[in-house]
Structures are given as structure tokens and as C-alpha cells.
Symmetry: C2
Subunit: 317 residues, 2 copies
């Protein structure tokens, strides 16, 4: 990871982009939640308790940032955003799977998520494990079944499925969490920048990269654009996770909707622990600017993606 | 479920078929384990501990019955068995995922599996949850990535992926386990035949049906043959699970390689509990014969599948 010199973000760009970004985020959240409601099994369908748990976890709130990345990446390459909606839902379902399992007592042992009791607090640990499993299968089912129904060709639907299975697997999402809990049990004797980056790349960044790539794939763009979207996703994911680390240390539990100070308590390796707070803030800001630069060649059609990246280091929740 | 009259299995058929069946099962096990070894991440690849856990779980033994169903269903419709090998591995990886999670303390709380300490006993609960998650993603990754590499067309690879995602999801595999643990917590006040059948259909039968369907799909046969293979898989899965229930009550822990008597201890709803031992034996045998009848029109090319079905009620491990 090359770290660029810390440049000031032009204030006018940040402010100008903010309102349309908020509007689009709100619009996206509404559309995604309606689509999720149609894609998730009904609560009265057996096994009812499992389906209630799945819906409880998926509809517990959340910014729906990953679906936004899918939809806006598709839009940025001139694709039909409607066709990308099932994939946008699939990545959110997969993300929820990882939250439900991460919160388990044998992992991060969290009681609160987005201000509500976590899935296992409400439904029990066994049901939470199954809920996470069922959400993971559902994510892939949506890609394999719903994407082709929108008229997307089978090879592209398969590439989207491939992209998400890889991001979720042992080398990335599950692998990052494995490194995270291993670091905890070994009392993080290794506090190197490389180690914290390696964990964050796996736990957070890979899925965001996959979201951007999937949006591009559905928009049927060329490999060069997909590569640029993946690079954007890389820096965006990093900016997001560094800010997450900072907020866990400095944030307000109420607006975050989760227990703060957990990272330190659980001896998790974080950016502030390795670099200190101030340097971490700089790194988050630099990552956001690298995200914007990755989309230089998009010539303005990706302005909301850029605005999103620039807004991340400023977020409070 | 219509239950047919209990007919005697012709002894000659059972004996004649047994030796080639054992040979083919042994050969299949060897080939599948070699292929699994190539498909699973190496132990020294980071995160090493997660990859060790995955390999520990997958190579803990087992009959590799589900891969056998994929390969022999493909062979029975005249397909190229080589092309079906990745899918055979995918179903075994998915099956292992479900074993690792089922064994967790918050689920069935099993210390032994196939005569060895269960995954969470060796690697800890958090790692076992992640191991199961990573195996589930890997199963779908194998279908989405490896199947097309064999030259299989994208629409068929996508249908195989669809078939497996559905079998794994909340309506079937995960759903059956959810019903199972719900029954336990409600002290199985409902001991109806319908309820035990509903749980077994989900927990065991659906995946075996999916195996047969996937073998048929890769063999590029028509929908009628796929339907017959699914019906075979239904009765085979039922015969297998009823026998499993019987063995948990009457079997020898050493040859089974797991703790016996767990079902009663955990107040699980089983066939012997609902029907008694003798009637359960009859039902297993009837199910095996229904499996054979489902393949009547295959005119002898499915004889090992038939022999397998007939051997199930006799199995001791």
C-alpha cells in the first residue's frame, strides 16, 4: 500500500456534493429495503422462527452502503440500475450474515447492534448461527436465481456469483475475522501496520471492492473500468474501516448504536492503536482522496461515488 | 408422503450388487479426496489457522456418500463423470459446513465426529463458526468458478449453483436444523409423524436430492430424468436418515465414530421415538425400495444407485 501525501480536500467539493449524496443515499435505502422485503422469506413461512431472525437482522437499520456501491458503480459505467437491484440486495444480505456471526459470544460478544439487541440476544445462539448461515446461502441464491431473471446473461451472473463467493470466503471476509480473533487470543503482540492493514483488507475492504466490481459487471463495462472501480472500492473500504476504528475510540455510543470502546476491551488491532488518533485521521482522509483519484477517468459520471468517499472521514455514525 | 406396502427385497439383488458397490464407493472416495485436496486452500496459506480448521473438518473421514450421488447420477444419465467432480466436491464441502456448525455447543454440542474431536474442540468455537462459514462460501465458489472451467456451459453451472443454494438455505438444510433445535427447546410436545418427516426432509433429504439433480444437470439430461433422480434422492435420503436415527439408539459408538444416544439425551425428534424401532426399520426398508422404483425407467444403468439404496437399511456405521 503506497501512502500518498496528505492533501487538503477542497471544501467546496465536499459541501457541494453532500446534499445530492444524502438524497441518493436515502432514496437508495428505501428502494433496497423494499427489494429486500420481497426477497427475504416471509415471517409466517416455516421455519417461522428462523425467518423472523433473518428479517430481524436484515431490517435492524443500517446505511445500506454496500448496496449503494453496487447501484452507483453500475450507474457510473452507464448500466441499467434496475438490473443491479438483486445484486445490491445480495451484498447487503451477505454483510448482515457477517454481522450476525461476528456478534456471537464466541466471537466479538456484542449485545447491541444499530441500537438494538443483537440477533443471538433475541433468538438464542444456535438460531443466530443458523440465521447467519441461511443469510449467506440466500445471498448466493439471489445472485444465481434473481440476476438471470432480470435478463442478465448467464456468464455475467456467474461472474457476479464468483466475485461474491471469493470476497466472502476464507481468503477474505471469513479470513479477516479469523485473523482478528486470532490476534485477540494471541494478545496482539504484533502491532505492525502490515498486520492491521491485512486484517482490514480482509474484513471490510474486500467486500466493498466486490460491490463495486459487481456493479460494473452488471453494467457490462470493460475490464479496465472494473479494475478502476475495484481500486476505488479498495480505498473507500480502507477509509471506512479506519474511520470505524476511530469512532470506536472517540464516538458516541448513542449515535453509533453500538457499544463503544469494544475494540480496546477486546484487544483488537486497530488503526489508532498502531498509528495513534491523529495519524489515523490523516490516513483515512488520504484513503478517501485515493478513492476519488481512482475514478479520475470517469469524468464526472461517478461524482456521487467520489462524494461518498470524501464524506467517510467526516462521518459520526 | 405415501407409504408403500413393505415388500421383501430380493436377497440375490442385494448380494450381487454389494461388491461392485463397495468397489465403486472406495474408488469414488479416493478420487473425491484427491480432488478436495486440490480445491481446498493450503494449510500454509494465510490465515493458516482457518485453513487448517477447514482441512481438519473436511479430511476427518466420512463415506463421501453425497459426492457419490453426484457422480453416479451423472453416470446414470450417460454424462461425463469427470465434469461432475468439482460439483461432487462442492456438495461434500457444503455437507462438512453443516456438520461443523451442528456440532457447536450452542447447537448439538458434540465432542466427537467420525471418531475425532470436533472442529470447535480443536480450534475453538469462534474459529469453528468461521470455518463453517468459509466452507459454505467455498462450496458455492467451486460451483461458480470450477464448473465452468471444465467446459460446462454457464447456464448449467448457474442451475447447479441455484440448486445447491436452495438446498442449503432457510427453507431446507438450515431450516431443518432450526426446526430441530426448536423442537428440542420446546421439549418436543409435538411427536407427530408429519413433524419428524418435515425435519428429516429438510435436514438430510433435500441435500441428497440436490446431489442427484446436480449430477443429472451436469450429465445434461432432460427434466423428466432430473425429476426421477430427485425422487430417488428423496427416498434415499429418507432411508439414510431413518437408519441414522435407529443407529443412534442401537449402534456401537466405536464403529459409528460418534457419541450414541445423543438424540434421546437432547430430546430430538426421531423415527424410533415416533414409530418405535421395528416400524422404523420397516419404513427405512420401504423408503429404500421406493428409491429403487424411482429409477425403474433407467433400465439397469443406475444399478449402483439402486444397490446403494438397498444397502442403507443394513448399514452399521
Amino acid at each position: 500500500m503506497g501512502r500518498e501525501k496528505h492533501e487538503r480536500i477542497p471544501v467546496s467539493l465536499k459541501e457541494a456534493a453532500n446534499e445530492p449524496l444524502q438524497q441518493r443515499l436515502t432514496e437508495c435505502r428505501g428502494n433496497v429495503e423494499s427489494a429486500l422485503d420481497r426477497l427475504l422469506p416471509r415471517e409466517d413461512e416455516p421455519p417461522a422462527v428462523l425467518h423472523r431472525a433473518m428479517r430481524y437482522a436484515v431490517f435492524a437499520g443500517g446505511k445500506r452502503l454496500r448496496p449503494f456501491l453496487v447501484l452507483e458503480s453500475c450507474r457510473a459505467v452507464g448500466g441499467n440500475v434496475e438490473l443491479a437491484m438483486p445484486a445490491a440486495c445480495a451484498v447487503e444480505v451477505l454483510h448482515t450474515h457477517s454481522l450476525v456471526h461476528d456478534d456471537l459470544p464466541c466471537m466479538d460478544n456484542d449485545d447491541l447492534r444499530r441500537g438494538k439487541p443483537t440477533c443471538h440476544k433475541v433468538f438464542g445462539e444456535g438460531m443466530a448461527v443458523l440465521c447467519g448461515d441461511a443469510l449467506l446461502s440466500l445471498a448466493f441464491e439471489i445472485l444465481a436465481v434473481r440476476l438471470p431473471e432480470t435478463g442478465l446473461d448467464a456468464p455475467t451472473a456467474l461472474r457476479c456469483t464468483e466475485t461474491l463467493t471469493q470476497a466472502a470466503g476464507s481468503r477474505w471476509l471469513a479470513g479477516g475475522q479469523a485473523m482478528d480473533i486470532t490476534e485477540q487470543t494471541t494478545n496482539y503482540t504484533d502491532r505492525s501496520p502490515e498486520t492491521v492493514l491485512r486484517i482490514h483488507e480482509r474484513k471490510t475492504v474486500a467486500l466493498m471492492q466486490a460491490c463495486c466490481a459487481i456493479g460494473g459487471l452488471i453494467g457490462r463495462t470493460d475490464d479496465g473500468q472494473i479494475r478502476r472501480l475495484r481500486e476505488y472500492g479498495y480505498w473507500l473500504g480502507l477509509a471506512f474501516q479506519i474511520t470505524d476504528d476511530i469512532l470506536d475510540q472517540t464516538g458516541d455510543g448513542k449515535s453509533l448504536g453500538k457499544t463503544v470502546g469494544k475494540d480496546a476491551q477486546q484487544k483488537k488491532l486497530t488503526y489508532p492503536m498502531v498509528f495513534g488518533l491523529e495519524r489515523s485521521r490523516c490516513l483515512a482522509s488520504e484513503a478517501a482522496q485515493s478513492a476519488v483519484r481512482a475514478l479520475d477517468s470517469f469524468d464526472g459520471v461517478a461524482e456521487l461515488l467520489c462524494a461518498l468517499a470524501l464524506s467517510l472521514p467526516e462521518r459520526q455514525s
